[in-house]
Amino acid sequence: MNSYYDPADLPKFGDIGKEAPELARKFFDYYGSVFAEGALTEREKALIALAVAHAVQCPYCIDAYTVACLEKGSSLEEMTEALHVVTAIRGGASLVHGVQMRKIAEKLSL
């Protein structure tokens, strides 16, 4: 094994069900239903998934949802904007904790 992450492993995702088939079936059924067209389009859901894939930094998911976004008709411009949304939330989540920092610092300070 040259790397923990191998693109050829992605199609083997289903193998995870070999030891716990019932749990895997429930998960993949749910997964399929989540990404089916609903109040949100499949294209919109793929853009959300792409952004979240970057937030959780999953190479498999980034690969899969980059392809999915393109195949659902998204442009690179839209995909990049989606990444900025998740980046803003991640950065904002750090920054907003500055409230805690300030509260503690102010309590301790003269």
Partner: protein, 318 residues
């Protein structure tokens, strides 16, 4: 890559690909084009010289007269660059229920093509216009710099002429191909998005959108090879093989005539050099519609039409 892989796929499932009732005469006017699109399976472009002669145009019209097709479908290259196009349109229109002319929009926007607008209107031509995406980046990555704005202006002009407008009988359809080594979106979803984006941003309306997978032939295949995408794309197409698509494939109901008058079962077999009936047959020799059940030659490119929901002359089969 195994050129018989598609046939093996059919054989393994006990399937065959044979002709149904032939309904459409597709006419490829030649390889001359004002654009050199990177996905073009024919490698058409400004540097090509192959084009249909006046004599072959007359043989095509004569064939339509004696065989009786429901539809004629004129493609290229850029049909607008064929000097005999007005004769071809006028000759075919009275003989078919539906006459389609395909356009890359840029060729139709040239001042020299202005006379075609009225010709198309007079003969009730259904225009099928290529538009890869609803953004400039993906459109121009495929079709070249400036193609986006020119295409949008031409679509607006066609709307002004009545094509694709609600209540008008003049038809304007769009055809979209992915701008890369990936499959196209579902046709229903893509049409919904094209319709809403083009209407909202540019006031453009159209009748239907057809989505197609890129076929790994010609210039697109060369790009797949040089970009290192060929094997992955081939696996994507092959892995998406859907036998349900077979009955609706265009090769079952089309006969495609090349610029030199020779016959193929579809434009992709034409590009691949796989002739109708596995022999060179000239349109002047076609005395009647090809019999149902005739075997259709196949190649690995056939996976592009059987992937997922499948794709045919009218786009996705879904």
């Amino acid at each position: 890559m195994n050129n018989n892989a598609f046939k093996h796929t059919l054989d393994a499932r006990g399937l065959t690909l044979t002709r149904g009732r032939t309904a459409t005469l597709q006419v490829n006017t030649g390889l001359i084009c004002d654009l050199a699109c990177r996905h073009c399976h024919l490698e058409a472009g400004p540097g090509r010289t192959e084009t249909m002669s006046a004599a072959t145009v007359e043989e095509v019209i004569a064939c339509a007269d004696r065989c009786g097709f429901a539809t004629a479908d004129i493609t290229g290259g850029a049909p607008e660059l064929l000097p005999h196009l007005p004769r071809l349109v006028a000759g075919l229109a009275p003989q078919v229920d539906r006459l389609i002319v395909r356009t890359n929009l840029v060729a139709l926007s040239r001042p020299e093509a202005a006379h075609l607008h009225e010709l198309y209107r007079r003969h009730r031509v259904a225009i099928v216009a290529s538009l890869p995406a609803v953004n400039a980046g993906q459109t121009e990555a495929q079709r070249g710099c400036g193609a986006w704005e020119t295409s949008i202006v031409m679509l607006q002009k066609l709307n002004e002429l009545g094509f694709g407008r609600a209540g008008s009988s003049l038809e304007l359809d769009l055809a979209t191909n992915p701008s890369g080594a990936f499959l196209p979106p579902g046709q229903i979803q893509a049409e919904r998005r094209f319709r809403s984006d083009l209407q909202r941003r540019f006031g453009i309306t159209f009748n239907s959108l057809f989505s197609f997978a890129n076929v790994p032939l010609g210039r697109f295949r060369s790009w797949l090879e040089t970009s290192g995408n060929l094997e992955t794309y081939r696996e994507r197409l092959e892995g998406s093989f859907n036998p349900v698509t077979l009955p609706g494939l265009m090769c079952r109901t089309f006969i495609s005539v090349d610029w030199d008058g020779y016959l193929y079962d579809c434009d992709f077999n034409l590009a691949a050099g796989l002739p109708h009936g596995n022999r060179r047959l000239h349109i002047s020799e076609l005395s009647e519609l090809p019999p149902e059940g005739t075997a259709i030659p196949t190649g690995e490119h056939c996976y592009a039409c059987t992937a997922g929901a499948g794709f045919t002359c009218g786009g996705s089969i879904e």
